[in-house]
Symmetry: C2
Subunit: 434 residues, 2 copies
C-alpha cells in the first residue's frame, strides 16, 4: 500500500478488473469491491448451463488475479449506496472512503414489466443461474423418462428460448446438441432427439446486431441442429409449463398477428438486461439522465456531471457520443473503458492534461452455434462455419485471463468436442420433483 490516492472500484467484472490491472503502476491504493469472490467469464456461462464446463472453469478468484499487484486489495462486500459528498461507498456492513471511484457493477436480467416471468424463465448472469438452468434442463429429460403420459413427456421435451441475440443462439445450439447428440444413448423410454427447441426473437432476424448475411447463416445452421426459429415473435405470457407468443406477419406481407401457446417445462430468458440499480442511484444523486435500460448518462470522459472523481463504466454507462446511441453491453466496451479511466487517473495524478474523450474501438463480434459452427463479424471481414468457430474458441480461450488455467479449459473442451460428451451434467441442489 502506498498510503496515497485511494481508488475504489465497485465490481470485479471485465470493466472493474481491467481498470484495477491498468492501475498497477500508478501511485494509488486500489480497493476492488465485489459481492462475489471471483471474476466470472460471462460469455461462457451457457457452457456451464449445458454441462460442458464446470463453474470453476470460467470463474477465477479475484484475489488470485490481483495477488501479485501489491497496490491492490480485494474486499468481498455488497455495495448498497454512495455518499458522494462524503466520498464514501456505503456497504452492507460499513463504508469505504475513496478519492476516486469507478463503478462497474454490470447488468442483470430484465423482464420488462413482467417480473413474475423471472421464476418461469431464468436468465444467465451468474453461476447460480447457470447451475439452476443446468438442473432444469437435465431434470426435464429425467422427468420425461419417468412419465408414461405422452402429453407430459412432450411438455418435458419442449424448450423455449426467448431472445435471439448471441446468448439465446448459443443456448439454443447447445441444448440442441445435448438432446440430439450427447444424451441420445442415455435414455431407454424417451428419444431425446425428439426434443423441440424453440427460439423466439422479436426482430425479423436472429442476431440482429450482426450483418444480415450472418443472421441468415446462423438461422440455417440452427435449423440444421433441429432448432425451430421464430422471428418477429414476442412473448405475451409465461407461466409454469407454458409460454404464449405472438408472431407478426413478415414486413410487407398481409395478414394478422397470430398468437399461440406452447406447453414447455423449461424456458430460458435472453431477451433483456438492465443495468445494476446502482446506476439509477448515481443518476439521482448527480442529476445525470438514466435511460430505459437503467444506464446512467456519463460525460465524455466517463465521469458523472459535477463529480469528476466518480466514473461509471461498462454495462451501467450510457455513452451516446460516438454512435448516437448507447454502446453495446459487451466485455470489449467495459475493458476499454476500464483502461481509459485508469489512464485518465494516472495522468491526472501526474498533473498532466486530461485525455481526449473516450473512443470505443469495435474489434468485432462473434457468436457460436453448437459444435464447430459460429459466425464472426470483424467489420472488415465476415465469415462463418468451422473457421469462425475456431476463431471464437481462440479468442475466448485467450481472454480467459488468470483462469483456472487456459490449457486445462482447452483440454476439457477438446475432450467434450471429440467425445461429444458433456461431463459436467450434474443435477445439484435437489430438484423439486414434479
Amino acid at each position: 500500500m502506498n498510503g496515497g490516492h485511494r481508488v475504489v472500484i465497485v465490481g470485479g467484472g471485465f470493466g472493474g478488473l481491467y481498470a484495477a490491472r491498468a492501475l498497477r503502476k500508478a501511485p494509488v491504493d486500489v480497493t476492488l469491491l465485489d459481492r462475489r469472490n471471483f471474476h466470472l467469464f460471462q460469455p461462457l456461462l451457457y457452457q456451464v448451463a449445458t454441462g460442458g464446463l464446470s463453474p470453476a472453469n470460467i470463474a477465477s478468484p479475484l484475489r488470485s488475479i490481483l495477488s501479485r499487484q501489491r497496490n491492490a486489495r480485494v474486499l468481498m462486500a455488497e455495495v448498497v449506496g454512495f455518499d458522494l459528498d462524503g466520498k464514501k461507498v456505503l456497504l452492507r456492513n460499513g463504508e469505504q472512503p475513496y478519492d476516486s471511484l469507478i463503478v462497474a457493477a454490470g447488468a442483470g436480467d430484465w423482464y420488462f414489466n413482467h417480473p413474475e416471468w423471472r421464476h418461469v424463465a431464468p436468465g444467465l448472469k451468474s453461476i447460480e443461474e447457470a447451475t439452476e438452468l443446468r438442473r432444469c434442463i437435465l431434470s426435464a429429460f429425467e422427468v420425461a423418462e419417468r412419465t408414461a403420459d405422452p402429453a407430459a413427456r412432450e411438455e418435458c421435451l419442449t424448450f423455449v428460448i426467448v431472445g435471439g441475440g448471441p446468448t439465446g443462439v448459443e443456448m439454443a445450439g447447445a441444448i440442441a446438441e445435448l438432446a440430439h447428440t450427447t444424451l441420445r444413448r442415455d435414455f431407454r423410454s424417451i428419444n431425446t432427439a425428439s426434443a423441440r427447441i424453440l427460439l423466439l426473437e422479436g426482430q425479423p432476424r436472429v442476431l440482429p446486431s450482426f450483418a444480415e448475411k450472418l443472421s441468415a447463416k446462423a438461422a440455417r445452421q440452427l435449423g440444421r441442429l433441429g432448432v425451430t426459429v421464430l422471428t418477429d415473435t414476442l412473448v405475451t405470457d409465461m407461466r409454469p409449463g407454458q409460454v404464449t407468443y405472438r408472431t407478426k406477419p413478415p414486413a410487407g406481407a398481409a395478414g394478422e398477428a397470430v398468437e399461440r401457446t406452447v406447453r414447455a417445462r423449461t424456458a430460458f430468458w435472453a431477451a433483456g438486461v438492465r443495468a445494476s440499480p446502482l446506476a439509477e442511484m448515481l443518476g439521482k444523486a448527480t442529476g445525470a439522465e438514466v435511460d430505459r435500460g437503467g444506464r446512467v448518462r456519463v460525460q465524455q470522459d466517463l465521469s458523472l456531471p459535477g463529480r469528476p472523481e466518480v466514473f461509471v463504466i461498462g454495462d451501467m454507462a450510457d455513452y451516446p457520443y460516438q454512435t448516437g446511441k448507447s454502446l453495446p453491453g459487451v466485455a470489449q466496451v467495459a475493458m476499454q473503458q476500464g483502461g481509459y479511466v485508469a489512464g485518465l487517473l494516472a495522468r491526472r495524478l501526474e498533473g498532466g492534461q486530461p485525455p481526449p474523450p473516450f473512443r470505443y474501438h469495435d474489434k468485432g463480434s462473434m457468436a457460436t452455434i453448437g459444435r464447430a459452427a459460429a459466425v464472426c463479424d470483424l467489420g472488415w471481414v465476415r465469415f462463418n462455419g468451422r473457421l469462425a468457430w475456431l476463431a471464437w474458441l481462440f479468442v475466448h480461450i485467450l481472454f480467459l485471463i488468470g483462469f483456472q488455467n487456459r490449457v486445462l479449459v482447452m483440454l476439457q473442451w477438446a475432450y467434450s468436442y471429440f467425445s461429444r460428451n458433456r461431463a459436467a451434467r450434474l443435477i445439484t441442489w435437489q430438484e423439486d420433483d414434479k
Copy 2:
C-alpha cells in the same frame, strides 16, 4: 431389455453401481434408482470442499456410466419405502416392481443425540455439503479480512475439525495447506498462516483404524502442517461461533478431564455416520436386527431373513460373520458385496448351487495428509510419506471410473500440485454475510 428377471438396485454409489455393472451379461433387466443423476466419488469430496477440484471432477452421470449396458436403465427417483410382499419399491411418485432387490443407499452424517449440531458443523457426504463447506471456509477468510476487531478475526481464522478418521485428517491437512500456502499472498490485512486448525479425536490417536505407527506418523505430519491435534477429546457442546470439548488425561496418567471452549466460526463434522433410514425400515419389515449405526443385520449371503430375493450391501449392511464386528464403511466393501450379489443372482437364475458366504478381502487403507504426504496400510506392508501419497493418488485416479475423464482430473491435480494453487475457490450460493 430382456423382458426377463427384474433386478432393481437402490442407490448409485459404489455398491449399487458395481452390482449393476457386474450384471451386464446376466439375463436380467436392471433398473438403478437414485435420487441424484450422478455417481459421486466420495473419497475426494474433501478436495471439492477445499477448492482443489470441481464437483464435476468427482461426479459422473449415472446414465453415461451405464449408457452402453443395454440391460440396464437408470431412473432418477427417491425411494420412500418397500412393499416386500408385493415385491415393489415405493417411490415418492409411483412404485417400481422387482423380482430381486439390491438396496445400497449408503450412510449419512450422524450427530449422535445432537441433531442441532448439524447446522454448526456440516459433514461431507454430498456435493452440496462440500460446496457449502467450501463457502464457509473461504468466507471465513473474507470476513477476517474485512473486520478490524482482533477477537472477531481470530474467531474467523479458527477451524475446528471433529473426528480424526481419514476424512477428518484429510480435511485438516487440506485446510492447513489452503491457509498456509495457497492463500498466503492473497490477503492484505490478515496473515492467513496464523489460522488455527484444531483436530479433535475421541480415541487416544488419530486414524484409529490404522496401525499405531502410522497414526503417530500422521500426527507428526499434521503438526508440521500447522494442525493442532487433540486426542482423547470429545465435543460436549457446539453452537454458532463456538465449540466446547473435554480432554481426558492420557491412559495411565493421573488427573481430571479438562473442558475448554474455543471460539471458531467454522466447524466441520467427521465424527459419525449412520446408515440410510431405509435400513431400519427393512429391519422392521423382516425382523432383522438393526445396530447402533442404523445398519441392518444381513444373512451370510447378504440377503435379509425370510427374503432371499432382497439384499442389502455397503454402508447399510451389518455383516459381522467374518471378523466378529461390522465391516468398515468403505468403498471396497460395498464394491465387493455388489459383485458378490450379482454373481449369486446370475448363478441362481441358471439354477446353480448357491455360492459360499461372502468374504471381504481387505486390500488395505490409505489416507492423505496434505500435499505429497499420506499413510498406507496394505496389511502386508505399511508406508508413509511421498511414496504413500503417490500410491494414494494412483489408486484414487484409477478408481475414478467413467469419471469426467481421468486424464483431465490428473492434469488438474498436477496443476494444483505444482502451482500450489486451488483454482476452484468459488463462494457460490450467496453467503449469509455475518
